[in-house]
Amino acid sequence: MNYEEFLKQKGLEPGDVVKIDTITGTVQGILMPHHEFSDEGVLVVKLKNGYNIGLAIEKIKGVELVQKRKTVREEEGSVERSPELPDVAVVGTGGTIASYVDYHTGAVHPAKSPGELVKAMPELFRVANIHPEILFSVLSEDMDVKMWQQIAEKVAEKLRNGMGVVITHGTDTMGYTAAALAFMFTSLPCPVVLVGSQRSSDRPSSDAHLNLLSAVRFAASADVGDVCVVMHEGTSDNRCAVHPGTKVRKMHTTRRDAFRTVNAREAGYVDGEKVVVNGNLRKPGPLRYDTRMEERVNLLYYYPGMSERLFRAHFEGAKGVVIAGTGLGHVNSRFVPVVRDYIRQGCAVVMTSQCIHGTVNMNVYSTGRELIRAGVIDGKDMLAETAYVKLMWVLAHAGNQDEVKTLMETSIAGEISARREV
């Protein structure tokens, strides 16, 4: 019998205190939720000493309910507003940056109310009046274009209410969202900061606290009208780097300092109470934004041995394709005519490099020169992901192919650097 049937049959649920008789003895503890990798035929019980143990259901002789599960406490409560502090909205979109663990279900819940957030991070409220709101709670990999647009609308709403904005976001695709917002907001009165954590906030060693605190500080005080990402600068808990939203990329699967500015200098840092801006960000202006996006855009990662069929599939029905090409910006030279055909049919094709670092330059080798002649747009030193997001925005706003090319090759939101420092 598996654990689900067993619990159903006995009328039990996780969180119940039970006494279990097995063929080897008696165990009392709290029934725990099943771990994904736990054996189906095992009950997980938390003992009084805190340890969880697995008991094989086949060895269980009897179960006695000692106490029904306690209902999870709901903590509301509010915090008094300090008139001398700025107001900062913290918009939750997912991830576990400010959260608490429900140990009855094992789930990590985001802190929803100011009461919960102040409990999780009281130091935030000494920096600003925090207005937390959960917009939605999705895994970063489940984020889509519609959600970017919803985030933008929510950000605009908060900005209109005179608040700085911090968006908490899962880290996997935070760079994409940052780029999308950077193009949607053509002018901002203050910083819009995205922040995440690489170690979940239920751990004592989480990077969430420093990241969120630094993000709020930056949102509350930086003289900037741009979208940026604030995350740990190094492995130490002392400083957070500020990255321009269009140049930032997650460069490590696990490290705290996974986020890096690519092909540019970092836009600044937050060190304790010190907020420093290097000048790579747009200055504040009136709120102007437009969230329209052309969703029929694909991102093609070329590799040796890619079939023509798969290569072509990226272009079918697409209004635009961003290619992450090899080296200076290449694909198999056999595919040049294919690319040319799709461009002639009206598809915008932008070349970027899988090297990540450095710029595209299609003048150096013959394949590149042929790609230019075929009408491929030079993505310069844009990140492939940023170019993908930008092309969606540009296609929704440009009138014709020439305008698409001009916009793609011009830096709109700091996405292209004219020079790359040594």
Binding site: N49, I53, V101, R203, P204, S205, R256
Partner: protein, 621 residues
Amino acid sequence: MDWKSIGLKVGLEIHQQLDTKKLFCDCSSELCEEVAGTFVRKLKAAEGESGEIDLAAKETAERNLVFRYEVIRGSTCLVECDEEPPHALNPEALKIVLSIAKHLNAEVLDEIHVMRKIVVDGSNTTGFQRTALVAVGGKLKVGEKEIGIPTLCLEEDAARKMEMEGQEVTYRLDRLGIPLIEIATTPDLHTPEEVREVAERIGLMLRATRKVKRGIGTIREDLNISVGGGARVEIKGVQELNLLPEYVKNEAMRQLKLVEVSKKLQERNAMVVDKLFDVTPVFAGSNSKVIKSALNSGGKVLAVKLIGFAGLLGKKWEEMHRLGSELAQHARVFGLGGIFHSDELPNYGITAEEVARIRELLALAENDAFVLAAGDGEKLERGLRAVMQRARVAIAGVPEETRDPLPDGTTRYSRPLPGGARMYPETDVPPIRVTPSLMADLIPIEEFEEKVARFSREYGISTEIAGQIIRDWRDLEFESLCAKFPAAISEIARVLTNTLGEMQGRGLDVEKLSQPVLEEIFCAYISGKFAKEGIEKVIEAFLLGAPTIEKAIEKSGVAKLSVEEVEKVVEELLAAHPEIKAKPNPEGALMGLAMAKLRGRADGKTVNDVVRKKLSGSPQV
């Protein structure tokens, strides 16, 4: 002391490092002195499983510490730095624990779940220690008594604490993640000696697996001690087996004393006033160095009022088991050193007049006491609040707490006893279903007594010698050498016990005598390169720096002489001592002279043959 009558109860937790790679990554578990770099972190007390913040974790976090971690190449990777999730649990380490569980007749759980135990003192970069309960309900027979082993856990060792400066604590990461087996006993030990005996017994059993680390710090004991009317106090991380009884005795005495103090306080209706009194003006012209320097840097002097505490705080700072030192230790953990209490004043530059003014300011009656300290702001207040809290608890009795062992056999307050609130599941490590195949091929464990008896029986050596060989971790070497050189068993036993002990006593590095080296020595001996008496000399020459055994034989001058050479020596002796022949026992006399000259270079029998031949072959007088 009649330990039974005071209700002494002690439980042991033994932590032994296992000799495998690290528990949750592929790093080596060797310690190292070469630091490749450092980084700093802070920790925050996270909510425990029950939704409460653990008291011990909270108190540690309140100290606002910064942790610096030293990275060691080879034994530190991103996992120790908390920059990568843990890998799967090391199967070799699990096998060792399962083997021990089986040996102790413990019930291995059906599925093993790795937990996070919150520890925010910085010794774990994650802020928790990963630990898993593997088996329950074991038993160990010590003498006639059966000791219960309620739990066997597999957990990761913590980082090594290197130094503490101000609010910054430095840890080295090489030790973090080394697998530990934790064996807990029931609190059924009732005398200090029994505690030592059981600890040693478990240590020997662990060694018998041959899969545990050896050397200082590789095995550590936690003691849970209580006396009647006292409370459970945990002394964490004792490394010296021989000091165990001392810690037990001292802790029992401390608790008895505190029980006594609590009775007196209750009789007097003692009370702690919940207020900090600013007494800075009293010390405007103070001669106390501590107070002067605090005031000079803009600090103040605060006092705590303790109603009914007079005479119970203790006269002398160093005196053990005094409430005064308990209060000081609580202040110390919040970074506040140097508190003064009224029982020891006037002293330390604080005058009788100043004391009188404080008593007046605080409106103290005869039976009332005060504690004061100088310093600045938050640290001072936090420290004194900790003092107030500790004093309050003293009225009720002995508090449950964790204490650190000191080298002199006493202990010092470290933090409140951690509660059950500090455990939650390590979701990054999948649970392990214990299958029959996992329980196959366990490591056989031969208990100490069994092995001593077998050695004595199989090799004909005394149980003392056998015991010494096993205690010194030389048992594997001994058996392997005996198998190779069965004709030299008594020599092998002698070398592994007396000779090595003696050489070590002389400061020579006997670690150089690896198994292959010993094999070479015994091989040379068995093939007749030198006599039995020369073994020590060869070892000595090798330890003194001879590069090879061959050279050591040469250098020590024990190389065996040919019969002709022996004859030559004996002839020379005869020529030099013609009077020998006239002695009543010429053979014995000549033998004595010859052996004095030839010991180690020729065996006795050869010399004897030659002596006899030379004496009989010489012309009769």
